[in-house]
Subunit: 396 residues, 2 copies
């Protein structure tokens, strides 16, 4: 019996074009992990989460372990609404959906907005998992290049204008990570933010703003697209993964209630009531503004170590963007295929993600790589870059 | 701006036909809950889960709180494979996917197997959430009636044969809850199990076996369809929700590796690594066979209280199936619209789920209702049925 014959055509295509693979092979023992977008282990509030779980179960007994969970789930929603308010985003309860991390948020948005006729505008490069998700629904993409000031909105405008002249469909949405972008670490300027919102109005598309890193600025803090959005065109996707703990899987979508309502319908009870209630208790017991100061100080300092090591160990021909926040730095090494170089890097005991995975057309990314300064400690970061320097020298 | 205009046609249709609603309104204070399929509070292992979380975080620190989580996630898989083996189901790691409860399992199966041309065969009545999920993908259903011996496979055969004669598409899969069905509490006989497997082979369809209640037998234990499946046609959906705690959201799909691979692709990291690892620790520390004996004893006893109260308080015209396991009893009250009766029942302080929600054509279910004996204690169950008896008498 041919099981695959039961798959509808679109599923066969999604599976064919997207063979489940790994961006990085198994790591050798002792490898310095500059590939992974994990928070620093010392910043994960292990004791506090343990205390939150214990206090929740002592207080509410079996309640948080049933389907609908604890009333604390509503408190989590209120806490997130309050944090969004502090960032200039005003949403009601009906305009917010808690998700299992930003990944479920992006998946739900794709499910309700995309079909095989839909066009999606993406940044180039962009977050590889979002790219994978969108490709399950459509093959029609507009890739807009990112430079050190973020998405090139003038290029976006040219393309939209030309599509209009040619009677082509406009994107259903633009997926953007305007602040400390994954993978480039770049931030869209205030002018470009204004411009992209104007374009959305003029050409009638929605904007999915992935803001997973937005609170992790080193110095300057720009308003989110959602805070500037007067037309309810922005679906703001957020997450506690980068600022509390990814394993708790708490993310959200803030946007127009029609969107939230539709996402909730497809989400059904793909919830995690226990984790949500535990997180509500954790947040209630935490001075989050103070915690954010610690997070920013730690990542600022780690980033400085990375940049200084890059200056010291990388050859002249390599170049990179200087991140102003977030987890990542983006490097170009002209003439080097970073996928091939990864083998040597792992042999030297350092990892990164080859650039090609972040591009729709992978051949655009062969000379790039993403470095993460979030996970390893400062000594390891410096040592990792020293090892990387040797590998790059040998690859030139 | 009309946000809804951004939804593809199929999504507009799914939302239109399925207005998110509640099966039951808000309960009055002190209402006896015979509607909800929750485990008995005393059987939820609150202290043990708390201990598992503490021991996990003490042992592995931040590891379980990162994306990929703890190595214990693999142990959970092994533990579930071992339990399945004890039930005659032999699967490899590649044939098992851990999901966020059975609901995500059903949703993933629907995503990879259904499109708007797909026909789905369902039991009538059937689990309302599965019905809702399938309706997001297709409107083409074959409803096969259930009697006290489960799915009427002879009716299924007639329909399949006639569809073949008429050149109509056969179902892509049959969704069945063969053991202690939701909502009827009935169990498919061994003969019918054999028959349905033969039909799947003859007419080339898959079988989705939802086995959420299978371990909760009172006396007799029939083999699962998956255990009898020699052709890899059965996708076995299981869950720890009914036997440990629904709030932990641990379910699974066991089936052909092509299916598992495709489901995993669409699942991405819609996982809950922390809950999975905590559950692995809990299971490792638990004599599960002994726990199952306690569960069976408790629910057998609760069911006996329910049945005895039904005999005592319900009028002659009401009839019901006698459950041999699981959580539910299914009742018919000829001439009474149970949706209308619910208002009076809530006023009397007892809840149930009106039968219509379990049918594709809701008008087929007006005289039925589902009673759950799982959640309330024995005294409350008896008192609830006493109240229900009064309401039924008044409705006749």
């Amino acid at each position: 019996m041919n099981i695959a014959s039961f798959f509808p055509k679109n599923i066969q295509l999604a599976l064919k074009n997207n063979p489940p693979g790994k961006w990085i092979p198994d790591l050798p023992e002792g490898c310095i992990r500059l590939h992974c977008g994990y928070p620093a282990p010392v910043l994960v509030p292990v004791e506090e989460i343990k205390a939150a779980v214990c206090s929740l179960l002592e207080l509410e007994h079996d309640l948080p372990l049933h389907y609908t969970g604890s009333p604390k789930i509503l408190e989590l929603k209120e806490q997130i609404i309050k944090r969004l308010e502090e960032r200039g985003i005003s949403v009601s309860e009906e305009e917010l959906l808690i998700t299992s991390g930003a990944c479920q948020a992006v998946d739900l948005i794709a499910r309700i907005l995309l079909d095989k006729e839909a066009v999606v505008a993406i940044e180039s490069p962009t977050y590889m998992e979002a790219l994978e998700i969108f490709q399950n629904y459509t093959k029609l993409f507009i890739s807009i290049p990112v430079d050190k000031h973020g998405l090139q909105t003038d290029v976006l405008e040219e393309i939209l204008a030309e599509r209009k002249r040619n009677g082509l469909a406009q994107p259903r949405f633009l997926y953007t990570i305007p602040t400390f972008q994954n993978p480039t670490g770049t931030t869209m300027t205030a002018e470009r933010r204004q411009h992209v919102l104007e374009l959305a109005d003029k050409y009638n598309f929605l904007i999915v703003e992935d803001d997973a890193y937005g609170e992790l600025f080193f110095n300057n803090n720009l308003p989110t697209l959602k805070a500037m959005d007067t037309m309810s065109r922005v679906l703001h996707v957020g997450s506690l993964s980068k600022i509390v703990a990814p394993g708790m899987r708490i993310g959200w979508i803030a946007g127009a209630c029609e969107i939230i309502h539709a996402c909730a319908w497809f989400k059904k009870d793909l919830n995690h009531p226990f984790a949500q209630a535990a997180m509500a208790v954790y947040l209630a017991n935490t001075d989050f503004d103070e915690k954010l100061i610690t997070l920013r100080d730690t990542y600022r300092s780690k980033c400085a170590v990375l940049l200084s090591a890059l200056e010291q160990y990388l050859p002249e021909s390599a170049s990179w963007y200087v991140p102003e926040g977030g987890y990542f730095a983006w490097m170009k090494i002209p003439g080097v295929d970073t996928s091939e170089m990864l083998t040597q890097a792992l042999a030297e005991g350092v990892s990164f993600i080859p650039g090609r995975y972040f591009f729709m057309d992978q051949s655009d990314g062969t000379e790039y790589l993403r470095l993460s300064f979030s996970y390893e400690d400062e000594k390891e970061i410096a040592d990792g870059i020293r090892r990387l320097g040797r590998v790059v020298e040998a690859s030139l």
